[in-house]
Symmetry: C2
Subunit: 347 residues, 2 copies
C-alpha cells in the first residue's frame, strides 16, 4: 500500500489527512501514476449540441469527423474518447474529450486545430459548439480506479499504481490531491460571461472543480448485469438528473450524465457523469450528505456487497481543482444553459 500522493509531490504538511497513518482501507483501489517529468496535463472537452431534427445530425457528424481527424495529428491527445447525452434543454450533446500530458503539445495542437472549434468554423443555426478545457498542474488533480481499467486522464499516465491508502472514506478525494497537503482550495471569485455576438467566453474563478466519474459494465453478465441495470443505474440517473436540473442548489454549475460511444457513434456499456462545481467542498458535501448521492452510495454498497470480489463492474473517477488561469470556456451559438454559461445566467 502506498500514498495516493507520489513521493515527488509530497511536502511538509500544513494540513492533515482525514485518516490516521495506520488507516487500512477495507478494499483496494489504485490511482493513475505519471512520469515525474509530467508537470501539467490538459483535459479538453469539445462539445457539439443540436436538436434531433432534420439536418443537424448530418452537420454534427461532419464536425465530429473533423475533430477526430484533428485529434490524429502528431501533437494530438495521447488519449481521447467520446460520449453523448441529452442536456437539460433537450439538446443532443456530443463531447469529444482529449487528454494531453504535455502542455506545449496541447498549446501547439490547440492553436492549429482546437481554437477553431467553437469560434464559428462550424457556423450553422442548428449547431452549438463549446470548448471546455482544464490544464491543471499535477498537484491539482487526482484519480481513483476500482479495477485495472484505464479511462480518462489515466490514458496519458504511465499506468495504474499499487493499492493506495487514501480511499474508502469521505475526504479521500481531497486527501488524494497533492495540493491538499498545504491548501484548503477554497473558491475565489465568481464566473462571468463575455458575449460577442454568437460567441461567448466564461471568465472562470479560482479553484473551480471538475469531476468525471464513470462506470464500465461491459464485463457484467446475468444477475450482476441485471442488478446494475435495474437497481444501481436508475438511482445513479436520478442523482445525475438532480444535478442537471437543480444542481445550483448545491453549487454544482452544470452536470452531464454521458453515454460513452464508439468510433461509429454507438453506445458501449460505459457511462460517466461530468460536473462543474463551484468548489471541491461543494462536491464533498453533495457526495456525502445529499439524499440523491446517499441513495447512489447505498445502492452501490448493496451491489458491491452482494457481488463481493467477483463484481465485474469497474468504477473510476478523476477530480480537478483548477486555478482560474488553468481554465478555458468558450461557447458558440449555444443555448444559455449550456455548461458553464448556466453558472452565470443562473438559467
Amino acid at each position: 500500500m502506498e500514498s495516493a500522493i507520489p513521493p515527488h509531490l509530497q511536502c511538509p504538511r500544513l494540513r492533515h489527512r482525514r485518516v490516521p497513518d495506520d488507516y487500512v482501507p477495507p478494499y483496494p483501489a489504485t490511482v493513475a501514476r505519471y512520469r515525474s517529468e509530467v508537470t501539467r496535463v490538459a483535459m479538453a472537452y469539445f462539445g457539439i449540441q443540436h436538436r434531433a431534427d432534420a439536418l443537424a445530425p448530418a452537420l454534427a457528424a461532419r464536425a465530429l469527423h473533423c475533430i477526430a481527424e484533428a485529434f490524429a495529428a502528431a501533437t494530438g491527445p495521447g488519449h481521447w474518447d467520446r460520449a453523448r447525452c441529452v442536456d437539460a434543454a433537450g439538446y443532443l450533446t456530443t463531447v469529444s474529450i482529449g487528454y494531453w500530458d504535455d502542455p506545449a503539445a496541447y498549446a501547439t495542437w490547440f492553436a492549429e486545430h482546437g481554437a477553431r472549434w467553437a469560434s464559428g468554423a462550424f457556423n450553422d443555426p442548428a449547431l452549438g459548439l463549446f470548448t471546455e478545457v482544464l490544464q491543471p498542474a499535477v498537484d491539482r488533480f487526482e484519480t481513483l480506479f476500482s479495477a485495472d481499467v484505464v479511462e480518462g486522464v489515466a490514458g496519458v499516465s504511465s499506468g495504474l499504481g499499487q493499492p493506495i491508502q487514501e480511499h474508502a472514506y469521505w475526504g479521500g478525494m481531497r486527501d488524494r490531491l497533492a495540493l491538499s497537503q498545504t491548501d484548503g482550495m477554497a473558491p475565489e471569485g465568481a464566473p462571468q460571461v463575455v458575449t460577442e455576438g454568437l460567441h461567448q467566453r466564461v471568465l472562470p474563478h479560482g479553484n473551480l472543480c471538475l469531476i468525471r466519474s464513470g462506470q464500465d459494465w461491459t464485463g457484467t453478465q446475468g444477475n450482476e448485469r441485471r442488478m446494475y441495470t435495474e437497481e444501481v443505474e436508475p438511482v445513479l440517473r436520478a442523482g445525475m438528473d438532480f444535478l442537471q436540473a437543480q444542481g445550483r442548489q448545491v453549487d454544482c454549475y452544470a452536470n452531464r450524465y454521458m453515454a460513452v460511444v464508439d468510433a461509429q457513434g454507438q453506445p458501449v456499456d460505459k457511462s460517466f457523469g461530468m460536473g462543474w462545481w463551484r468548489s471541491l467542498a461543494a462536491l464533498e458535501r453533495w457526495a456525502e450528505s445529499h439524499p440523491t448521492h446517499v441513495a447512489i452510495f447505498g445502492a452501490a454498497m448493496k451491489y458491491l456487497g452482494t457481488m463481493g470480489p467477483a463484481a465485474q463492474l469497474k468504477l473510476y473517477h478523476e477530480v480537478t481543482v483548477a486555478r482560474a488561469e488553468e481554465q478555458y470556456f468558450e461557447y458558440f451559438n449555444c443555448h444559455p444553459r449550456t455548461g458553464m454559461l448556466g453558472a452565470v445566467t443562473g438559467a
Copy 2:
C-alpha cells in the same frame, strides 16, 4: 449560527476543520453549553447483569434501589438516568448513569457511595456488577441535539445553545471537539485487565472513545411512529447487533443498545446505543462507510426527508475521547464479554 467550540475553548489551530468557514448546514442542530467554570465532567455508568432467573431480579432490584438512593445524596449527580438491554451473552443488563459537572463533588460522592458498587458489596453468585467512568476535560467531549431535548451529559449543562455550524457532514463529530483544533487524538497503547478473584480492573489506554447516541420517539404519532418503528428501528437494531456481536472487526470494543426505563423500571419511548471504541477514527470509519451504518444513515435520511420539519423524533449524541487517566473500569463477578473486559479477552 455559532461554532460548536465555545469561545473560551477556541485556540490557534494546528489542524483544520473539514468544512470551509462559509459552510452552512442544511438543517439546524445545537450542542449543550456549559458554564465556563466547568473544566471537567464525570459520566459514570453503574451496571448490573444477571440471568432472568428466579432470585436474581429481586437482588438486582435491591442494588438498583441502593444506587438510586446514593444518587440522591448532596454530592450526587446533577442528572442521571437508567436503561437496560440484553447483552451478547444473554444477560439482562441495567445501567444507572450519573453525570456530574464538578470533579470534586464526583470524587467525594464516589468515595462514599460509588466505590462499593463493583467491589463486592452486592456479592451474590447471580449478580455481576460493573463501573465504567469517564471524567473528560471539557475539550474532550462534544454533544449534538436535533431538538430542544436534554439528555445525557447535557443534563448537567446550562442548556442547549444556538444552532451550530459543525454538523451534517462526516467529520463534524471531530470538529465539534475543542481538542481537534490541535490534536489528532490517535489511540495510545492497548487495554489490559488486572484480575483479583472476582474483581477485575481494566487498565485503559489513551484516547479511548465513548459514544452515547440516542433517540426519543415519545412525541411521534400515527404514520411517523409507524415509520420509525417499522423502517428505522429495525435497521438501527441491526447495526447495534453487529457492533455487539462483531464490533471488534471495526475496533469497537463493546456496544450496548439500551432501552431507557423510568423510575418503576418500565421502558419509555427512548433508546440509545453506547459504545466503547479504540479511537475516534474507528468510530468515524464505521459511521461513514460500514454497510450497517450506511443503512442506518439511509433509513434516517429517508425518514427525515419524508417527515420534513414536522418530524417529532428527537436525536442526540455525546462523544468523548478520554485520556487514560480520565478512565475507570471495574468489573465484579462479570462474564468475560462484559464491556471493556471483552476488549482484552477478545471474547
